[in-house]
Amino acid sequence: MNPVVLDHITKTYENGKVLAASDVSFEVASGELFGLIGPDGAGKTSLFRILTTLLLPDKGNASVLGLDCNKDFEEIRRRIGYMPGRFSLYQDLTVKENLDFFATLFGSTLEENYSLIKDIYEQIKPFNNRRAGKLSGGMKQKLALCCALIHKPEVLFLDEPTTGVDVVSRKEFWDMLKTLKQQGITIVVSTPYMDEAMLCERIALIQTGKILTIDTPGKIIAAFPVPLYAVKAKDTYRLLTELRKRSEIASCFAFGDYVHITLKDNSNESQTDQLKQELIQAGHEQFEIKRIEPTIEDSFIQLMSQTYGR
């Protein structure tokens, strides 16, 4: 049996008015690095809280390590590690005290599983006697990860571990996760950053409580149904508004300096030339159009429009 199983989970808040998870089912294989990708408010944290036995679902069953999340929560808590999205360690205790404290709560010691956290802990060791509240964001993240790992969990749940962390620390963090994965720990991680999705083995795209798709990032991108074009002009905003008015455009989203578009009719390759001509005539300077490979973000937007008709 897979270590993490969600079976038709539904969770609502405020008497059913707010939908956090709607009929969510997926499984995470042993030793997998699984990503839950979705924007803020998509329901990622609710799923984490259900899996870590902090929240009871309205409907459906969840199990971790073959144990039922409702009934065997005590056993689950002993065997999983959870790092909440918000820094949740004692800010008025030092780095060392926090580690010792959580080790003791799990009936363990810092020394017992030292090898597991060694690589990460070495980086914050110089600050052993500094209070956790006085650490930088990246340091806090490392300490929290150490605390979540201190009892050698079999499954690690990381809820938005890289939110609010600088680019370098984010990269370091993902490297650490890969090292942990090599030690056989199943990792479930959530993130709102689409670029991080590529670093996971399998991902679930989630939006307003619904799973849009679950697959490897590569397959999700490959499944992009139509050719995707990137359009650029000097006045991006004007380009965007004009493109949106055109009838042959199926979707159109701003993407940094570029505007990504798909066309309704993909049978005729020369359509893009015609589009180029017309827009240049309309006075767009430095106009440029090219076919590109979609990214996870394109896939996400495309799946979202498909599901919600936007």
């Binding site: 902090l54 909440p84 004692y90 404290f101 009936g107």
Partner: protein, 369 residues
């Protein structure tokens, strides 16, 4: 057991690291005990009196001299008319106006009776009532000494009253209030500190991390209650010491009884704090809810006013707070030396409160929402 020990260790570390809280916890008992009993003094000493003497006779002079000599009154004005005198009350210059009508002496001697007018500013109820009573007793005394009464025919069998105040011979206010302030201290520590502490874990999010550990409900709650129980007992001891050093109040009854009660009471109050924390989400809410109940506890418990003088419904509420019972016991043991047998019912009440409040709180404290 090891987990609990570590929890306690962590909790004490946190308490001793928060310098503000620490200072408050130990400065509070000392300052409250020194300031409150001195400030909250209901012995009314200087009542401002305005007099309207329409008679200007020997008798009226004698009466005024007597009032002045009592030491409780300060003559602020002698006005020609009542209208003039009442203005002193309106301007808060005087508390009482005494009006002696024309023909005071003549009527007293001839008719044997004469009404007097007293007007009292009742904005400050206590001062008005006590001032009025003082004035009445001085006038009554004067009445006795009027020659016609003093030397004249006296009906037989007059009952002469004389009294003494037991357990507080000089009826000093400090004996009444100091034991109550001791109770106040335990109440504040128990009711606020515990509630705010647990809610803070919710607010900061640390409870989320704690909740995914295998730690049990009982361990977590004991880990929270025991440190504050210890702190409360230390503060209480400090309070007893201050009461002795500053006021010379040394409990007449046994310390064992006092500590047994203080300990039980603190458990009940910590349970109350815990209960508040399970119903609130952040420190502001907890503070507000706890404060609301604390005010009721303070005002209705007999801390400042006697429970016996409350209307029936209020007495029921008063009896439903643990504070009332504890104040009663502390006063009995400290001033009167009551033994455990005298207060066993109060003890049962406190145990009951402790069980109900803690039981409810533990029941309501959930690790999963």
């Amino acid at each position: 057991m090891k987990v609990l020990r570590y929890l306690l260790q962590k909790e004490f570390k946190q308490i001793f690291r928060d310098k503000t809280i620490l200072a408050m916890m130990f400065a509070m008992p000392i300052i409250q005990l020194i300031i409150l009993p001195l400030a909250m003094n209901f012995d009314v000493k200087s009542i401002n009196l305005a007099v309207v003497d329409h008679d200007h006779s020997t008798y009226s002079m004698k009466l005024l001299n007597k009032i002045n000599a009592s030491g409780y009154f300060k003559l602020v004005a002698a006005s020609p008319s009542f209208q003039d005198a009442i203005q002193y009350i309106e301007r808060e210059k005087a508390d009482v106006v005494l009006e002696i009508p024309m023909g005071f002496e003549r009527n007293l001697v001839r008719e044997g009776q004469q009404p007097l007018g007293i007007s009292i500013d009742a904005i400050n109820g206590t001062k008005a009532a006590i001032g009025g009573n003082y004035l009445l007793s001085v006038i009554g005394d004067f009445n006795q000494q009027i020659p016609i009464n003093a030397t004249g025919f006296k009906p037989m069998g007059v009952i002469d009253l004389t009294w003494s105040n037991w357990f507080n011979p000089l009826a000093e206010y400090k004996y009444y209030i100091v034991p109550a302030v001791l109770v106040l201290l335990l109440t504040l520590i128990g009711g606020f500190m515990a509630a705010l502490n647990i809610v803070r874990e919710k607010e900061v999010g640390t409870i989320e991390q704690i909740n995914v550990t295998p730690i049990t409900k009982l361990e977590f709650i004991s880990g929270k209650l025991i440190p504050f129980w210890v702190v409360g007992m230390i503060v209480f001891t400090l309070g007893l010491t201050v009461a002795y050093i500053v006021y010379g109040i040394w409990p007449v009854g046994s310390f064992l009884t006092i500590y047994i009660f203080a300990g039980t009471y603190l458990v009940a109050l910590l349970g109350f704090g815990l209960l508040v924390s399970t119903y609130t989400e952040n420190q502001l809410q907890a503070m507000f809810v706890a404060f609301f109940f604390m005010m009721i506890f303070m005002l209705m418990s007999g801390l400042f006013t006697a429970v016996d003088s409350m209307p029936g419904w209020a007495r029921v509420i008063a009896n439903l707070t643990p504070v009332t019972h504890f104040i009663k016991v502390i006063r009995m043991v400290v001033l009167k030396g009551s033994g455990f047998a005298d207060v066993k019912w109060e003890f049962l009440y406190l145990v009951l409160f402790a069980c109900i409040l803690n039981g409810w709180a533990v029941y309501n404290y959930r690790k999963t929402s």
